[in-house]
């Protein structure tokens, strides 16, 4: 039963992150995911200080706010001050993370949040974190419910905004000609990433969130040129990684999040080397029309 809950949690996070990650890597915004997953720290700490509890809703609100702040500041420095995007991301997220750590040190007695919990998370505790209703019925692990809700929201968001997300990712100029606001969808996407990050970080940690945001989509990206297929492959890979990662961790008796990240890397490595071998056999290598 424990294995079931952990794999389910892992799969939920993997699918949610992967679906959003597809759009991130197509927009060359992968590092925005990295930045947001770190920059939510001060938001979580402030939410914790204000609400005085580790309840999910204030945490998500706080993290969502700092996630949006990260995106806004990055864009602002990029557009108004002409700072290159990667530098803008680097400066902003490290600043916010530093503020988060300082807040933790300043209110050390009141905050039981640690920076390594943000980085590592602990998926093994998921089955213990039970949701018990008022009359004492045990409904199963709380994170599973939260993550399911987030997954449904993300899937709904992608279904509703599929056309807009696709257009603004591939051809922003054409999208704005059609009257689709590129900025609006940019912010909606980053808001979705922030919410996903924070709802997952408690159980899987920032590192696994980044691995899930980028790994499966990057692997799927190598395999197909079709966005719908890419989303489907990403989701399937996510479930596989959660499954394989758990059993690897069980077998090695090691960190579950770490093993899932390793399996993600192995998946990419497998597909990547397969393609390398294939392209070295065909001489000269066929030019990829979608590359560039």
């Amino acid at each position: 039963m424990i294995a079931f809950w952990i794999i389910l949690t892992g799969s939920l996070v993997a699918i949610t992150c992967g679906l959003l990650g597809c759009f991130l890597i197509l927009r060359k915004m992968s590092m925005v995911g990295d930045a947001i997953s770190h920059a939510v720290l001060p938001g979580i700490v402030i939410a914790f200080l204000l609400s005085g509890s580790r309840d999910t809703l204030p945490m998500i609100l706080g993290a969502g706010a700092t996630g949006l702040l990260t995106t806004f500041l990055t864009e602002y420095f990029h557009r108004r001050a002409g700072l290159q995007t990667d530098a803008a991301i680097g400066v902003v997220f490290t600043f916010l993370f530093a503020v988060g750590i300082i807040l933790i040190s300043a209110f050390a007695g009141q905050v039981d949040i640690d920076q390594d919990c943000v980085l590592y998370g602990e998926i093994a505790y998921v089955p213990i974190d039970l949701w018990v209703t008022a009359n004492g019925t045990i409904m199963g692990p709380r994170p599973v419910y939260i993550l399911s809700v987030v997954l449904i929201l993300v899937v709904a968001f992608i279904c509703v905004g599929y056309k807009e997300l696709k257009l603004t990712s591939f051809d922003p100029a054409f999208a704005s000609v059609l009257g689709i606001s590129t900025a609006l969808w940019h912010y909606l996407l980053t808001a979705a990433v922030s919410i996903t990050t924070v709802s997952s970080f408690e159980s899987v940690g920032a590192i696994l969130v980044i691995a899930f945001l980028i790994g499966p989509p990057a692997t799927a990206y190598l395999l197909t040129h079709n966005l719908k297929r890419m989303l489907a492959i990403t989701a399937a890979l996510g479930v596989f990684i959660a499954f394989a990662g758990y059993w690897m961790a069980y077998w090695l008796n090691a960190s579950i999040a770490g093993c899932m990240a390793v399996v993600t890397g192995l998946c990419f490595l497998g597909v990547f080397s397969m393609q390398r071998i294939r392209s070295s056999r065909i001489q000269p290598p066929i030019a990829d029309p979608a590359a560039g």
Binding site: I25, K28, S30, M31, G33, D34, H38, R80, A81, G82, L83, Q84, D86, A87, I89, G90, V91, T94, F95, F97, A98, V99, I101, I102, S105, A106, A108, Q115, D116, L119, Y120, I207, L208, I210, A211, I214, G215, P217, A218, Y221, L222, A249, L252, N253, A254, S255, A257, G258, C259, M260, A261, V262, T264, G265, F268, F272, Q275, D288, A290, G292
Partner: protein
């Protein structure tokens, strides 16, 4: 004040180590960071700093102790491998650099986490404090650490100094460097190694996540103050050193405060200040210039309005009332900004007012004539040389008339053969 004095005199040996260590670390990281920033690789520092974890763990597993030399070498190897992996993935697949960085970062860190759990289960007593390498404990620097950091920092400074010219050339004009026969690939590899070295030394002080900031934040700030690369690098080093000093001071004055994060916050504050207020490149000076230009354009448009009104009856210096001046017309300017422009023109003595009505002064008339003249010259130039239809040239001329210099004006006249009429067959005025 007394703490500041105590701090600055470095009377306490512990303080001395921490301060010197911090300053060396942050300034050498900032120097390498300047080149990374210029090569648009700002985020690889983040990848390297995460990728050192498996190296540190492996070194610990092999040596069974927390010998700093072993740790740093292990960290160096995996950090370097991570950078090679990123380059290899981007060069040989359609995965872009940002995705490659994120992937390598998380997977390497994942491997490290797996090794870390293995170490924790091994029950080796020396393992405690291993995570100091990850989260940074600048305040625990001791003498031997300092010695190693100083050597590494000096190595960084010397190597960057020696290859300064090559790095500059590669950063700004890669193809040219290749054409000149510079070993570009080897230089890349060298810069990569220096980056890894800087990260590996710095990580002990500020931790995994914040290391990226030590590299690029001072450099990004310095970029806003100068276009000269030497000055930029020195400024970055200066900002870095100051941040190191300030971070050390804050945690000295308030011992509960962590040094690394404060170093990052201080250098971020410098960076934010630079983004906003650096002369010419900052947001505020840019907005000021924009605002000033808009005012000049509004003034010139108002002068032009006087001229156009005068042209109807060849009475250029006649009195004009508000209705005439602010009628919605081709100027398309709001009447409040035109009124403000008119007031400024009055203080510059280009127009005079009798309370209700305004008229051009002689100097005002001259200025107005010149603008109309430039407008019409440009229209003629566009129809004659660019083959643009006469009814399409107005909008372009409307913007360029505020920019053309006297030299360009003479050149235009000369090219067009000192014309009298514009494409709409109206007169091109002469002053």
């Amino acid at each position: 004040m007394e703490t500041l004095l105590d701090f600055l005199t470095l009377s306490d040996p512990n303080v001395r180590y921490v301060v010197l260590g911090n300053v060396l670390l942050s300034s050498s990281a900032a120097m390498v960071g300047a080149f990374i920033l210029l090569q648009k690789k700002a985020l690889i520092g983040d990848a390297v700093s995460h990728a050192v974890l498996p190296g540190i763990c492996a070194a610990f597993l092999f040596s069974g102790s927390k010998n700093i030399g072993f740790m740093l070498s292990g960290a160096f190897v995996t950090g370097w491998l991570a950078l090679l992996a990123i380059d290899y993935i981007t060069a040989h697949s359609k995965v872009k650099k940002d995705a490659a960085i994120g992937l390598v970062l998380s997977v390497f860190f994942g491997v490290g986490m797996v090794m870390m759990t293995y170490i924790q289960q091994s029950g080796n007593a020396a393992q405690s404090g291993l995570d100091h390498f990850l989260f940074g404990k600048a305040a625990t620097l001791v003498g031997t650490d300092l010695l190693i950091f100083s050597i590494l920092a000096v190595v960084l400074l010397v190597v960057v100094g020696l290859f300064f010219k090559s790095f500059t050339l590669v950063a700004f004009d890669r193809p040219y460097a290749q054409a000149l026969g510079y070993p570009v690939r080897k230089l890349d590899l060298l810069l990569t190694s220096l980056t890894v070295l800087a990260v590996v030394t710095g990580i002990t002080a500020v931790g995994v996540v914040l290391m990226a900031a030590m590299l690029i934040t001072p450099a990004a700030a310095a970029r806003y103050w100068t276009n000269n690369i030497r000055r930029m690098v020195w400024l970055a080093v200066g900002f870095g050193a100051f941040a190191g000093l300030a971070g050390a001071y804050i945690s000295y004055a308030a011992p509960a405060m962590p040094t690394g994060p404060w170093m990052v916050v201080v250098s971020s504050a410098i960076a934010f200040f630079s983004f906003f207020f650096a002369p010419t490149k900052g947001i505020v000076p840019k907005m000021y210039t924009q605002h000033k230009n808009q005012r000049i354009i509004a003034e010139e448009n108002t002068l032009k309005r006087f001229y156009h009104l005068g042209e109807r009856n060849s009475h250029f210096l006649g009195l004009r009332n508000a209705d005439e001046l602010f009628a919605k017309d081709e100027l398309n300017a709001s009447s409040s900004s035109s009124r403000a422009a008119l007031k400024r023109l009055a203080t510059k003595k280009l127009v005079v007012s009798d309370g209700q009505q305004w008229r051009l002064t002689d100097i005002g008339w001259q200025k107005a004539t010149r603008i109309v003249r430039l407008h019409r010259l440009w229209e003629l130039y566009l129809t004659k040389y660019m083959n643009i239809a006469a009814d399409h040239v107005h909008d372009d001329a409307e913007t360029i008339e505020h920019i053309i210099t006297p030299e360009l004006e003479r050149e235009l006249e000369h090219q067009l053969g000192y014309p009298d009429k514009d494409p709409h067959n109206t007169e091109i005025p002469k002053i």
